[in-house]
């Protein structure tokens, strides 16, 4: 009986350790980026791959979601030590992240500007302008990935 209680206690504390602050930050940022990927995918479908299917509100909703994530202050999820650890999966943040603060800030700002720019033109609904603004967004995603994300 005591043994079982001890096991339960140990397991519980181990679980608590897994969802400690570092792991939580990793988990939240992985969620945020996955959500971004869902929304860029939707815009790509309706604006680039299959322009006949363009639906203004649908694209604007996705663009707003991207801008909202960009403006939510994701930088908070990059605390010290978050280059190691498992969120939904092992993090792919490069340890150099912490030495490249200026470059990272520049890349992140570029993304934020592009995201807000896209949200603005998406509200207006001009497909050509949206396509161009969307290209800037995906370019900024890649810019940051090349900089701080460990390659597959």
């Amino acid at each position: 009986m005591k043994k079982i209680a001890l096991t339960v206690l140990l397991t519980a504390s181990a679980t608590a350790a897994i969802s400690g602050p570092v792991e939580e930050q990793i988990r939240f940022r992985q969620s945020a980026y996955s959500f971004l990927g869902w929304n860029t995918g939707k815009i790509k479908k309706q604006v680039v791959d299959n322009p006949e299917s363009f639906n203004k509100d649908y694209v604007a909703a996705a663009a707003n979601a991207i801008a909202a994530v960009a403006n939510s202050g994701l930088g908070e999820l990059y605390g010290p030590g978050t280059d190691q650890g498992i969120g939904w999966k092992q993090t792919r943040l490069k340890p150099e992240f912490f030495q490249k603060k200026d470059e990272v800030t520049a890349a992140a700002n570029k993304f934020n500007e592009a995201a807000n720019g896209l949200a603005k033109v998406a509200a207006a609904g001009d497909k050509v302008a949206i396509k161009e603004a969307f290209g800037k967004v995906t370019e900024s995603c890649k810019g940051c990935h090349d900089l701080v994300r460990i390659k597959e």
């Binding site: 860029t40 815009i43 309706q46 995906t138 370019e139 890649k142 597959e152």
Partner: protein
């Protein structure tokens, strides 16, 4: 006494230089990203077409394009390394390089077809496999490029080496198709022109490579739709 022989037929030379240009273009578009990743995919599929063409041409092409004519067998390699090899087309070491390049290129293109960039691009066959497998193949795609680059560098070094150390120009024959060889050797060579390139065999090769490109770039997905986002809304749902 030297005479001029035709060694590289026109389709082979076109293949070679189109491949050079497209690999450079594929690299640049992959690195720049943004909207260009779509072009990277298109160029990659064009490279697939080139690759299939070269493989078919390795059986149907003119003498020196055929794999059997230069397959690097152990005896041929040994003879070459001992300086006893005599021939006009690819020498056995060069042949090794050809097969290595074609092999790595096949891996590069094959993995690319299933790759994704986690942003807004998926290879045309992505839908047939899981995301996690696609991520793994994307990793191979990145790694394969280092091998491809290594082989290309070796290839270029070899050409420079032949130019300066052995006084043999390998570039001009790949442009003109013609090469100066000793008369004794030339007599063993069946000229690849005009009888070497059969129009029928060329058309057959083109049909095969175009069919593969068509299949990969849409044909297969049309016949077997696997669009995993098919069910998603076309308009914003109520919540």
């Amino acid at each position: 006494m030297k005479v001029t022989v035709h060694i590289w037929d026109l389709p082979l030379r076109l293949f070679h230089w189109l491949l050079v240009v497209s690999i450079a273009a594929a690299y640049i578009t992959a690195k720049l990203g943004g909207e260009l990743i779509d072009w990277h995919g298109r160029i990659g599929i064009f490279i697939l077409g080139l690759l299939i063409f070269r493989i078919v041409w390795g059986f149907l092409g003119s003498t020196h394009a055929r794999f059997v004519s230069f397959f690097p067998t152990i005896p041929r390699l040994v003879a070459y390394l001992k300086g006893r090899w005599q021939g006009v087309g690819h020498n056995p070491l060069g042949a090794l390089s050809v097969f290595a390049l074609l092999g790595v290129l096949a891996i590069q293109v094959g993995t690319g077809l299933f790759a994704n960039d986690d942003i807004a691009y998926e290879g045309p066959l992505f839908g047939f496999i899981d995301k996690s497998l696609s991520d793994q193949l994307t990793g191979w795609h990145n790694t394969a490029f280092n091998f491809l680059l290594g082989l290309v560098v070796l290839h270029v070094i070899a050409i420079v080496f032949y130019r300066w150390a052995k006084k043999t120009n390998l570039v001009v024959p790949m442009l003109t198709g013609k090469k100066q060889v000793p008369k004794v050797l030339a007599e063993t060579v069946i000229s690849t022109r005009p009888s070497g390139v059969g129009a029928l065999r060329l058309i057959l090769s083109l049909i095969i490579s175009c069919s593969v490109v068509w299949g990969v770039s849409g044909g297969i997905s049309t016949l077997y739709p696997v669009d995993r986002y098919q069910q998603t809304a076309q308009a914003t749902p109520g919540f």
